[in-house]
Assembly symmetry: C2
Homo-oligomer: 218 residues x 2
Amino acid sequence: MLTLAEENYLKNIFHLQQKSPEGVSTNAIAEKLETKPSSATDMVQKLAEKNVLTYIKYKGVTLTEEGRKTAANIIRKHRLWEVFLVEKLHFKWDEVHEIAEQLEHIHSEALIARLDQFLAFPTVDPHGDPIPDSQGNFKKTEKKLLSNLRKLQKGICVGVKESGSDFLQYLGKRNIAIGTEITILEKDDFDESMTIEVSHKSHFITKKIAENLYIQII
Amino acid sequence: MLTLAEENYLKNIFHLQQKSPEGVSTNAIAEKLETKPSSATDMVQKLAEKNVLTYIKYKGVTLTEEGRKTAANIIRKHRLWEVFLVEKLHFKWDEVHEIAEQLEHIHSEALIARLDQFLAFPTVDPHGDPIPDSQGNFKKTEKKLLSNLRKLQKGICVGVKESGSDFLQYLGKRNIAIGTEITILEKDDFDESMTIEVSHKSHFITKKIAENLYIQII
DNA sequence: TGTAATTTTTAGGTTTGTCTAAAAATATTT
DNA sequence: AAATATTTTTAGACAAACCTAAAAATTACA
């Protein structure tokens, strides 16, 4: 079982590794965690002992598979709690980070499993960031129907289901084409219509339209 | 801002003070917290410095008003989270204590205010223990209509609203009289009927009956 | 009331996670 | 390639929260 401080290091090293997959420097870690490089070195040595990362002096740090899974699980908890705070407690999406920073360290597998179910298994958090599954896997970016996405999720149009010219003209008028980035601003629970943003303009679209657009989540 | 360890001491001292209001010994604190008396002494001295309790060497400890309020607030959070876990995530009432022990230390007034609202301002936790208000006040035990109580809440019958003989005979047949202890086993959300336990027997009663029985919560 | 038993505190030490200052390794520049 | 600059690690210290062992105060009781 990791301590709170250890969990925070692991989570931040995970994020840093996205940017520099070849290895993360202790200085970068210290900066991210707003601490001194010497403290980061100390902690990194302890985490290497615990086999959640490999550390080569002066060369930097890489998460092990175990470390990667642990970090992903913390991120999973953080993002699930954010969904709870926004969807259930009606916080604004920009108010939830600090609280989720605390909640992500609650230890209970059962709690997270039930929270996930209570929230209807969300795949993105209120900022549109993906929520990894319980095995720590981030969903491979695959095409989905626009109608299956949630509020604030972002994606790139990668195809259409119905390809009649009426439909394509409809898309053309709204500057939607293959490669176009789309963000869901609002989604109505009742009729599944949505407001989407396309190149800084917002459009209202019906369920029928959304069911005919393939999107790759980004 | 108190540390997690300090909060746990405070909460437990609060509970111990219920049993011995004249002062709590450091040994009793150590036993409750499963630590050594010397550690309890150390912590108590630190908490006295922080003005949340008064400490007289060899004589024991009493919470200050500030300490009392802080402790009550931790208990409030613990019990609100228990309600959430049972009512929203469908945990059993005996599975929630450990998780609530962690959640009670999340620092955010806004979170607790919204959680309270989300849970519709419960006054008791799933074990029937009272939830103090945001000022740290425990509701004075006062009579309430049975229909206003929640599942698992316990009380003593202290009066009736409608006192026609039909009604009193109805109560008599079920061994309900002034002084009788009643526990709500089940409460139906739809028609507000309930199953109650009276001297080890369970009875089904309608909303109309429940609206005419005054109960003192225990 | 004085001695024994118990409770409580003090003294000194450990671990965790941090710090500063200095040393060592690596990288850069001329 | 040598000198300089930068990055990174090591060494030693500190606060929090705990421990053990010993001392001091209180309580029990003969």
